[in-house]
């Protein structure tokens, strides 16, 4: 991987990022397109020199920034002038005060849905890709790539189009049509791999070490340390939108687990910087039963995650061998949270509950978080009297198949008042 470094840290401007460090053994590396520790294979993370000084001034500077993730540029591995570069400018999505859903689920405290379907390509992936694009620019890559369960492929295709990169992305061959079309429409190459996501991921990991992949920036492989940092912006936004306060409880979907770990990292940074008052918070992870390696390990008390072969309608979460699984277990236990799973039937039911209660049409991953929230409340694990934030990370239009069977027309009638009267819907 070092051989692929096309720019070195002395020429790279990624703002407050000072280097990479191994999350397992702490070994430091220069900023570059590397992702695994040369000593122990552990994941590399961006290390920062975060802004010091008056929290009030930093809060004011953030609030005066653009209505997208670049308002948090001083806390991200991006150059200071990032807001002026061609980007989809994702983020600052709605934090919906979900009073109807609260009533439906028996929540007496506050319940919010962080609705990331409002991003440019309708999933949270635009956040992480936007950061990876800046790293790709800094390292001189001209092609953007990824392994994807669908949402990421669309986000990379769109971001590449805007930012002037070529794109070639890889997906399992049997994804939902909405995701395939959405990934293909931006004009880049879209390659279906005969296998599941873990097979696609393995393929990309091999491609990256081959001359065929030379000069390619894989957003979630060799740019993964940077890419992952984009998920911190979910934590920043939630706290800012709550009036610079930490939520008591937050329910996050788990695929690789990266998003959950970065939300925790973001919350910890806000505490450290004095931007929010320090208080306990609990992070809950949500999986589908048909791909539940992390919840299985959590409930069994294990600190390693045994891979599974996924079989669930929640394809965006169908990662059987989740890279950040062990860290999710650590965080859920450290914060007093839990990792739970729900059946596909419960996922569909939860999509409908959210849609009917709040007018938010979530993709299956949103069904997983709402379904798990419901289950955790019913089981007495999540406290319904506190402030809870549930993530919806994608748009239901991408997974129409999940609810299409019984969400169609109520009636089909001739265009006459008599026919409407006869249908009994007046």
């Amino acid at each position: 991987m070092a051989a692929q470094t096309v720019a070195t840290s002395t020429t790279v401007d990624l703002g407050p990022a000072t280097g990479l460090s191994c999350r397992e053994c702490g070994t430091r590396f220069e900023l570059g397109p590397i992702f695994a520790c040369a000593e122990c294979f552990g994941p590399l993370e961006v290390a920062y020199e975060l802004p010091a000084g008056d929290p009030e001034a930093l809060r004011a500077a953030i609030e005066a920034g653009p209505d997208n993730i670049w308002r948090y540029a001083p806390l991200l591995p991006v150059p200071a002038d990032v807001a002026g570069k061609p980007s989809l400018n994702p983020g600052f999505t709605k934090l919906v005060d979900a009073q109807n859903l609260a009533k439906e689920l028996g929540v007496t405290g506050k319940l919010y849905v962080k609705d990331d379907s409002g991003n440019p390509t309708h999933s949270f992936k635009d956040r992480v890709v936007a950061i990876a694009v800046e790293a790709a620019r800094a390292f001189g890559f001209t092609t953007l790539s990824c392994s994807s369960t669908g949402n990421l492929a669309g986000a990379v295709g769109a971001a590449a189009a805007r930012a002037g990169f070529r794109s070639c992305v890889f997906i399992p061959h049997d994804l939902e049509q909405g995701k395939v079309v959405m990934a293909g429409v931006y004009g880049g190459d879209l390659v279906g791999i005969e296998g599941n996501y873990d097979d696609v991921n393995r393929f990309c990991s091999e491609l990256i070490g081959d001359p065929l992949g030379e000069g390619w920036g894989f957003v979630n492989v060799n740019l993964r340390p940077y890419y992952g940092e984009g998920s911190k912006t979910l934590a920043y936004e939630i706290c800012e939108q709550l009036g610079w306060q930490l939520p008591d409880q937050i329910v996050v979907p788990i695929a690789s687990g990266s998003q959950l770990t970065k939300i925790d990292k973001g919350l910890q940074e806000l505490i450290k910087l004095g931007l929010v008052e320090d208080k306990p918070y609990k992070i809950f992870g949500a999986q589908a039963e048909g791909c539940s390696p992390v919840s299985t390990a959590f409930k069994a008390g294990h600190d390693v995650v045994r891979p599974q072969k996924p079989n669930t309608i929640a394809k965006s979460l169908a990662i059987g061998n989740p890279a950040d699984g062990p860290y999710v277990l650590d965080i859920a236990r450290r914060t007093g949270g839990f990792v739970e799973d729900v059946t596909d039937e419960q996922v569909v039911e939860a999509i409908k509950i959210l849609a009917r209660a709040e007018g938010i049409f979530a993709e299956t991953a949103g069904g997983v978080t709402v379904g798990v929230t419901k289950k955790l409340i019913e089981n007495g694990v999540l406290d319904p009297t506190l402030t809870t934030v549930v993530l919806n990370t994608g748009d239901g239009l991408k997974t129409l198949e999940a609810v299409a069977a019984d969400s169609g027309q109520t009636a089909t009638i001739r265009p006459s008042l008599d026919a409407f009267r006869a249908a009994g819907l007046a």
Partner: protein, 92 residues
């Protein structure tokens, strides 16, 4: 049993830059030990102090993740392809 082992970039310093090398062994444990005999030091990068696969290493024999196939005891048939891959790729 002779197998072909695909080496990830971060371990190629041990193989003189080679992306693929040959190794011998009927099980993954034997293959790693053969690999280490030919390329001293590489074994300790793949296995931890207790001799187990490091938690951020994935190993595949042909297309099968060895964690489903008995781990270090996974069979490595003659002519098999063994891939060693950092586990921290992918996902959201």
């Amino acid at each position: 049993m002779s197998v072909t082992v695909r080496i990830p970039t971060i371990l190629r310093t041990y193989t003189g830059g080679e992306a693929e090398v040959k190794a011998e062994g009927a099980t993954l444990a034997e293959v790693i030990s053969s690999l280490d005999a030919n390329h001293p030091g590489i074994g300790a990068r793949i296995l931890d102090d207790q001799g187990k696969l490091r938690r951020f290493v994935n190993v595949y024999v042909n297309d099968d993740d060895v964690r489903f196939e008995g781990g270090l005891q996974a069979a490595t048939p003659d002519g098999a392809g063994v891939s060693i891959i950092p586990a921290v790729a992918g996902g959201c």
